[in-house]
């Protein structure tokens, strides 16, 4: 049973009209695994994620989540978007995390308790009552991450969630994401443009070709741990550098 992949994409094809976007794409995602998908623009990375969370239908092949076909979007395969406006501006950070829990039927107190814990996981305990417009881009993505974690999806689908962030914030969030997904046993697919990000976050790296989009190679990444630690170190050093710059300004 433990051998059954959480997510299995088998020979998937997708056309938009006459355009063949994805051709015979196959990949598996094991429990607790994080797989990075990398490729040039237009190789169908985002389309693949949208097919997996059933926002769109594929033309051929099969996508199985826990061995079953899903025809409708569900929180089991949850998307984390790149855009900062994925949060609901009319709810506080806490409200944003609580809302889907309440929709799923959780009692108010239970939802609040869980939301507080997950916001603490992403380091936002002090900003629970802030509205999204008061938060920075990185903090908004953290809220979105907390919201996703609280829903405990089987697969977290990340569509370049850190692409619009500055270097230091990106690095921090990469490490944070690896950590929390590991902590809660959430498997994840990460679409990225950055080789560095793929190395830091992916246990395996799927390299995609374009026109039509297909899997070029799947590369095992034995140095994810090391890259991750390297990333953490880099983050630490950059923070120190930033502090020295600030100290200089203050003098």
């Amino acid at each position: 049973m433990s051998e059954l992949p959480v997510l299995s994409v088998q020979g998937v094809c997708k056309n938009f009209g006459a355009l063949n976007v994805l051709q015979n794409v196959s990949l598996d995602l094991k429990a607790n695994e994080m797989v990075a998908i990398i490729g040039h623009s237009g190789c169908g990375k985002t389309t693949l994620l949208r097919l997996i969370c059933a926002f769109e239908f594929y033309d051929q092949g099969l996508i199985l989540l826990d061995g079953a076909r899903r025809d409708r979007p569900s929180k089991e395969a949850l998307m984390l978007f790149q855009s900062f406006d994925q949060l609901q501006p009319w709810r506080t950070a806490l409200g944003n995390v609580m809302y889907p829990l309440r929709v799923a039927g959780a009692a108010k107190n239970r939802a609040r308790e869980l939301a507080c814990k997950r916001l603490a996981d992403v380091g936002l305990s002090d900003f629970m009552n802030a509205y999204p417009h008061m938060l920075s881009g990185g903090m908004k993505q953290r809220v979105a991450m907390a919201r996703a974690l609280a829903l405990t999806p089987r697969v977290l689908l990340m569509d370049e969630p850190f692409a619009a962030l500055d270097n230091i914030t990106r690095s921090t969030l990469q490490n944070l994401t690896s950590r929390v997904c590991g902590k809660y046993g959430i498997s994840a697919l990460l679409v990225t443009h950055s080789v560095e990000e793929a190395l830091i976050m992916g246990d395996r790296i799927v390299v995609m070709d374009r026109n039509p989009g297909r899997v070029k190679a799947i590369v095992e990444n034995p140095c994810r741990d090391i890259s991750g630690r390297r990333g953490e170190l880099k983050e630490k050093i950059m923070k120190l550098l930033q502090e020295t710059a600030r100290e200089k300004e203050e003098m």
């Binding site: 855009s83 406006d85 609901q88 501006p89 009319w90 809302y99 929709v103 999204p132 417009h133």
Partner: protein, 271 residues
């Protein structure tokens, strides 16, 4: 670390400064009006002094029929406005759920929105006669299409990620509307309410002037019209001032408050 209240403090200062400016401008204009009339810069028949008009207004409001006529108009506008608003919200919900319905109302509002209420008045009179139903039809025509226009435009401007997140957590169309779309539409909803409120008054006053007296006393439009018939310029101005005042009160006590408690607080519009 700043919390929300601290962050909003500067905005509050800007707002109170704006209110002061607002009153100062009104005061300047009124003083100018008074001076122009008193010093004979303009003929007193064309423009009697503001104080004369104000005195007349007070007298008419409390001892004449004007108070009742104002309430009549207000009541008709409120009903027509409420019906239009509810219809617009229901129609928008249907449009959000179905592309086909959306294209229908997109077409209808494109055709009917620019059509002035006054333009269809003869038709409405022929269809419904001169009575309160015709009045409501004219107001609803004036308000409904512009509200729908605003809401449909708003529907298209909702960030895709908010809708897709809703789909992702399995929201039903109804929950998607009540939990996501209604809130995301608030800026456009407010714009629609404001434009609609103005349109409702336009439609009502035109109808009252064309229809004459409906019911025992008629409304503000009839009052202004009769002021013109009897060449009582102070009455005409008093009627206009009342309409303007109702607009100011609606803005500051209703629309402005809703805006402050919703889209402003949520950072969906700027000061």
């Amino acid at each position: 670390m700043k919390n929300g209240t601290e962050l909003l403090a500067p905005m509050r200062r800007i707002r109170s400064k704006k209110v002061v400016q607002y009153f100062l401008w009104v005061l300047v204009l009124l003083v100018l009006w008074e001076t122009a009339a008193r010093l004979g810069w303009v003929n007193a028949y064309i423009l009697p002094p503001f104080t004369t008009v104000a005195a007349r207004l007070g007298h008419e409001l409390f001892s004449g029929k004007l108070g009742v006529q104002t309430l009549n108009s207000l009541w008709v506008v409120l009903q027509g406005f409420a019906i239009s608003f509810m219809a617009a919200v229901v129609i928008t919900a249907l449009c959000a759920a179905s592309r086909l319905v959306e294209s229908l109302f997109d077409t209808l509002s494109t055709i009917l929105n620019p059509l002035p209420a006054v333009a269809i008045m003869p038709l409405i009179i022929m269809w419904f006669g001169i009575d309160i139903t015709a009045m409501f039809v004219i107001i609803i025509h004036g308000v409904l299409w512009t509200m729908i226009r605003h809401l449909l435009d708003g529907l298209r401007a909702i960030p895709a990620a908010q809708i897709e997140f809703g789909r992702n957590i399995g929201l039903s169309p109804l929950k998607m509307f009540t939990g996501v779309i209604v809130f995301a539409l608030m800026p456009e909803l407010l714009a629609g309410l404001r434009t609609g409120w103005g349109r409702a008054w336009r439609a009502l006053i035109s109808a009252e002037m064309v229809f004459g007296m409906i019911g025992a006393l008629g409304g503000l439009g009839y009052y202004i019209y009769m002021g013109r018939v009897y060449a009582k310029i102070s009455d005409v101005l008093a009627g206009i001032i009342i309409i303007a005042l109702i607009g100011v009160v609606a803005e500051s006590l209703v629309f402005g408050q809703i805006e402050r408690l919703t889209v402003r607080k949520w950072g969906m519009t700027r000061e």
